[in-house]
Every structure is written in structure tokens, then in C-alpha cells.
Symmetry: C2
Subunit: 231 residues, 2 copies
């Protein structure tokens, strides 16, 4: 049996990264899942990442601690309250306080380091430029620039013939399309987690940007959210 080609998948435990992982699996990649604990107020997400990694049959799942709280600057790090009850138009057009400075750049840098150690040339990230909550580091032009930089950054690309590829299978999809894609690949969204600000009982708040975008997605896909129906 031929050995599968490996890929590093940035897996937060959220809906998007789980779908990106399902796409990678469907494309025949052996999955090396990478999750970060960075003091986010919604650390429950990383427990979901473990479940999703197992569901996807990951060869390895690495969880790294990042010292981002010392840098601060984001509602997701507990600096200011997570915004609640914003409408979809505002969510899609403004850079919110949940933006974590340079987060995807830091995440992709670690993915690049691990890819080099594993000798794999494919990284999957579930960024999305449609329902993307206004983060600058989710745009196609940012991803392209990271890829160009990565090509110059590492021993493997300097010495080898191959070019590192950042796969962004969801970048042009709506939330509804993302969910339909995952469902068609057999993904169990009941394992995923989106809420930035769970209630004291550990249930999704349903009012933060992330809950609102998730609800919109399931509505568009015309299916019930298995996470909510299991509560």
C-alpha cells in the first residue's frame, strides 16, 4: 500500500477548521492536526478539537501552548468583553474586538515549522473571506503572501524542488456552503464548538458573533445544528 501524503491541519475545534480537515481527509491526506491553547476565553473549543481529530482519524494531534496573553489586545484573551447581539451586517464588515493580533500569522508559522519537521508540503486552514467576521488575516491576498514568504523561509523549500501550499478550501464559501460540504463528507458537527463565550453551564451563548454566524450557516444549509439539539 502506498503511504499517504501528509498535511498539517490547523484545527481549532470550530466548524470551519473541522470542515477543512474533512476536505483534507477526502483529498487523501494523512492528517496531522495542530491546535493552540492561547488563553482564549473559549478553551472548551480545544476539547472539541480532540474529538474532531479523533473523528477524522488524525495520525497525530499536537496541542501547543502559546503565550499570547502577555501580548494581549483581544477580547478573546479576556482583555475586554466579547461583543454580543451584533447584527450580521456589522459582523461581516467590521474588524471586531475578538480579533487576535497576527493570530493566523502565528498559527501558520507554527504549522510551517511542523510541516518542515514532518517533511510535508501541505497546510490546511479553514479561513473564510465571505462570512469571515472581518479579520484581515482571512483574505486570499494575505494567504498568498504568506505562501510566498514561507517558500523563502525554510530549509525544505530552499533545498527542495517543492513549494509549500496553504490550502484554503472554504475561503469563498458561505457558512451554509461550508456546512453542506462537511455534511456531504460525513462530518459530525455535533463534535465542533463555535461559541466565544459559553454560559456558566458550558452551553453556547447564542449571542456572540461566532454563535450568530453558526446559526446563519445551519439555517442556510437547511439543517438543525446537532450541537444545539444535543443540549
Amino acid at each position: 500500500m502506498m503511504e499517504k501524503k501528509g498535511a498539517v491541519i490547523l484545527l481549532s475545534g470550530g466548524l470551519d477548521s473541522a470542515t477543512a480537515g474533512a476536505v483534507a481527509r477526502d483529498q487523501g491526506f494523512a492528517i496531522h492536526a495542530l491546535t493552540f491553547l492561547y488563553g482564549q476565553t473559549h478553551a472548551v473549543e480545544t476539547r472539541a478539537a480532540k474529538e474532531v481529530a479523533r473523528f477524522l482519524g488524525a495520525e497525530k494531534h499536537l496541542t501547543l501552548n502559546l503565550d499570547l496573553q502577555k501580548i494581549g489586545g483581544s477580547a478573546l484573551l479576556g482583555t475586554t468583553p466579547v461583543p454580543k447581539g451584533r447584527d450580521l451586517k456589522t459582523i461581516s464588515s467590521e474588524i471586531p474586538s475578538t480579533y487576535v493580533p497576527a493570530r493566523n500569522t502565528i498559527f501558520l508559522s507554527y504549522a510551517l515549522a511542523w510541516a518542515e519537521v514532518l517533511d510535508v508540503f501541505d497546510i490546511f486552514i479553514g479561513v473564510n473571506a465571505v462570512d469571515y467576521s472581518g479579520y484581515p488575516d482571512c483574505r486570499p491576498e494575505y494567504i498568498a503572501a504568506f505562501e510566498t514568504m514561507a517558500h523563502l523561509a525554510t530549509k525544505m523549500t530552499v533545498e527542495g524542488q517543492r513549494r509549500l501550499k496553504i490550502h484554503v478550501p472554504l475561503i469563498q464559501m458561505t457558512k451554509g456552503e461550508i456546512i453542506r460540504t462537511g455534511l456531504s463528507l460525513g462530518l459530525d458537527y455535533g463534535l465542533t464548538w463555535s461559541c466565544y463565550s459559553p454560559d456558566p453551564q458550558g452551553r453556547p451563548c447564542r449571542h456572540c458573533d461566532s454563535c450568530i454566524l453558526r446559526a446563519k450557516g445551519f439555517e442556510e444549509a437547511g439543517v438543525a445544528d446537532p450541537l444545539l439539539s444535543s443540549l
Copy 2:
């Protein structure tokens, strides 16, 4: 009095980054020094970073823990022995086992995050493409690509008019020129540390690539290394 413009300085405690910091200070920047503990076998370097930051009059000195050992892949992380007794030609032409995968990309990503929180647009890094030990992420084309990526990555560059600049004042200098530059700016090299592999008494080994390059630098500059004369 006008407030000084701030800059983030990547400060390892080594000779190069200390010199880059001295150049930044000389150019009138208020210094925000950033040091990483990443399981390097030569953690004594980070104690030197504290001394250098104080010497440079840094406004703030942040030391972050990086979880790089789980990723592995470098002699500096204790995976394999640090090479000793290599000649200068080999040091300058090969990528050595002390290469840490994607290290400068990870370091610069954190610097970018902190710069955004501080609202500063200048980052100094002491990379060097002459006596550079063959690391791909010390080359000018890599730095330029990182700068382009950074411009697309953050809220401050998306919303603002300004462009982030990565300063590499040492990139075209020999080790001798670096040391002469630092001395002309009053830098005390006795505070800096270079050795990858100190002996049991905590003294520089004098045989690793970093010790050999440092010795070459002081020889070229025609001065004694104050670190060695203080032992």
C-alpha cells in the same frame, strides 16, 4: 518633550540582536524588547537578554515561552548534539543542525502581534546574511516577503496608512563590522552571550559555530572579547 517613536526589538541576548538594539536606540526609537524561551539548550542567552535590555534602557522587556520542543527538529532544542569544531567555510555555506524550523518566522509573527498591540510600525531583527550560518530565514528576500505578508496580516496596516517596516541593520555586515558598529554606539559586549553549548561551569565552549563566528568577529574588529576576558 515629544514622545519617542516605539519599536519592537527581537533580543536574544546574543551579539547581533544587542547590536540591532543599539542601532534602534541610536535612531531614536523607544525600545520594546522581545525575548523567547523556546527550550533552547543555551537558555543562559535569555539571562543575557535581560542585561542587554536594561543596558539599552528598554521601556519594556517581554519574555515569552514558546512550545517549540513539541515540534522538535533542531540541535538547539536538544534533538541532536550541537556541532563542534566546524571550519568557517562550512559554517557559512551549509544549513546546520542548529537551524530551528521556521524560527524567525515564528519570532517575527509574535513581534508583529506585539507591534500591533503597541501601535508601533517598526521591528528590528539582527539577522545577518554574510556570516549567517546558512539559515534561509536570514536572507534579504525572506525579510522582504515577510514585510509584504505583514502588511496584509494586521488590523493596523489594513485600517491605517502606514506600512510596517522590518529593520535589518546588520544584514550586509561582517561580524567584525557588527562589533565595530556596536562599540561605536557604546555597547558593552560583555553583557551578550553567543555560545550554543556552554561547559558545565557555564563558560562558552569556544568550539560551536556561534563561538567560532564570535571569535572571528572580535579578531576582525581588532579588539578582545570582553566576555572571555571577564572569565
